[in-house]
């Protein structure tokens, strides 16, 4: 790099107080002062030479004074640069708003894109928040267990649903569980000579919480001991407290057939 290449580039990076214009103004301001002083002294009878010497003597070190002025000017420039930056941001915002106003279709597309993006984000976060971040609404959610029936001995799977009778045994007799609740989501379709008919679990309609289909009963006789307040609100308390098997609710089907 030649010596000539550095100069201009460096100058552009400097604070503007060092720019030629500002420096010239400092010079001009000082020169004006000195000239006025010389005139005043000459009006008092000083010779021009003496007056100039005296004016400079009284002024003091010109370079020192200019240094002081330059320092203050730099401060001002910095303030103005911050102001200019703010102005540029507002200008951009105004430009964006103007563009949106002039091109409504573009504005609509932009708005929809933003809305979709924000909406999807919110939805995903809601799900993640509910599933991953928020603990289940039970007193000790980390002690909840799910039980399945192992029917491999009879050639079945090891995660079969409980029969109601087995559930009742577990609920009433398993010492390691404080309470037990069951839910059923099985909804078979009955087909015979007549029209196919979805059976669902009658108990989930009649006996228990219609939303979670949970059959619950605490061993101590209180119902829904540790189930969510929502399940309680939805009527879980009546649950299967009568002790009757949910399947008993099926007869209406047989009545219909």
């Amino acid at each position: 790099m030649g010596p000539g290449e550095r100069g201009p580039r460096r100058r552009t990076l400097r604070v503007r107080a060092d720019a030629p214009g500002v420096e010239a103004e400092l010079d001009e301001e000082v020169r004006f002062h000195l000239e006025k002083k010389v005139e005043a002294l000459m009006a008092e009878g000083w010779s021009r030479e003496d007056a100039e010497a005296e004016a400079h003597r009284r002024f003091g070190d010109v370079n020192e004074v200019k240094r002081g002025m330059r320092r203050m000017t730099r401060k001002k420039e910095r303030k103005m640069m911050v102001g200019g930056w703010r102005e540029a941001v507002f200008q951009d915002i105004r430009y964006a708003l103007r563009t949106l106003r002039e091109k409504p279709l573009f504005a609509v597309v932009v708005s929809l894109t933003l809305a979709l993006g924000i909406g999807v984000n919110t939805a995903i976060f809601s799900v993640v928040d509910g599933i991953l971040f928020r603990p289940l609404p039970f007193p000790e959610p980390d002690e909840l267990v799910v039980l399945w029936t192992d029917v491999t001995a009879r050639g079945g799977p090891d995660d079969e649903w409980f029969s109601y009778a087995n559930f009742r045994d577990v609920r009433d007799e398993a010492a390691s569980l404080e309470a037990a609740a069951a839910w059923g989501g099985w909804s078979p379709t009955w087909t015979d000579t007549q029209e196919p008919q979805q059976l669902g679990l009658p108990s989930s309609r009649r006996g228990c919480c219609p939303r979670c289909s949970a059959w619950t009963r605490s061993r101590g006789g209180r119902s829904c001991p540790r189930i969510t307040s929502r399940a309680r609100r939805d009527g879980c308390s009546s649950a299967t407290a009568s002790g009757s098997a949910p399947s008993a609710a099926i007869p209406p089907l047989w009545d219909r057939r």
Partner: protein
Amino acid sequence: MTESNLNLIRGTVDLLILKALSGGERHGYAVSEWLREATDGTLLVEEGTLYPALHRLEAKGWVEAEWGLSDNNRRAKYYRLTHAGAERLEAERRTWSLYASAVDKALAEDAAG
């Protein structure tokens, strides 16, 4: 015209400059002349103090400057009090009055006993 025989108490320079500009816009030389006349030549704000102070006041937004033409069509930088500068002048004037009268009172008291 006598030379200054008093050094300005630090902090009063701003007050005096603001006061000098409260009568209308002035360039630096006129400010220094006004100060000398207004104090009967007792106070002299040296140029080495005056000009950096003018630029400092400008940086603070208490005065604003504009280039204009003086007598003989020479370009001069004129300083003018801003609204904030006028408020500042009032505030500093009050402070100074309190300060000066307090010092006066203390000096007038009998210090014996």
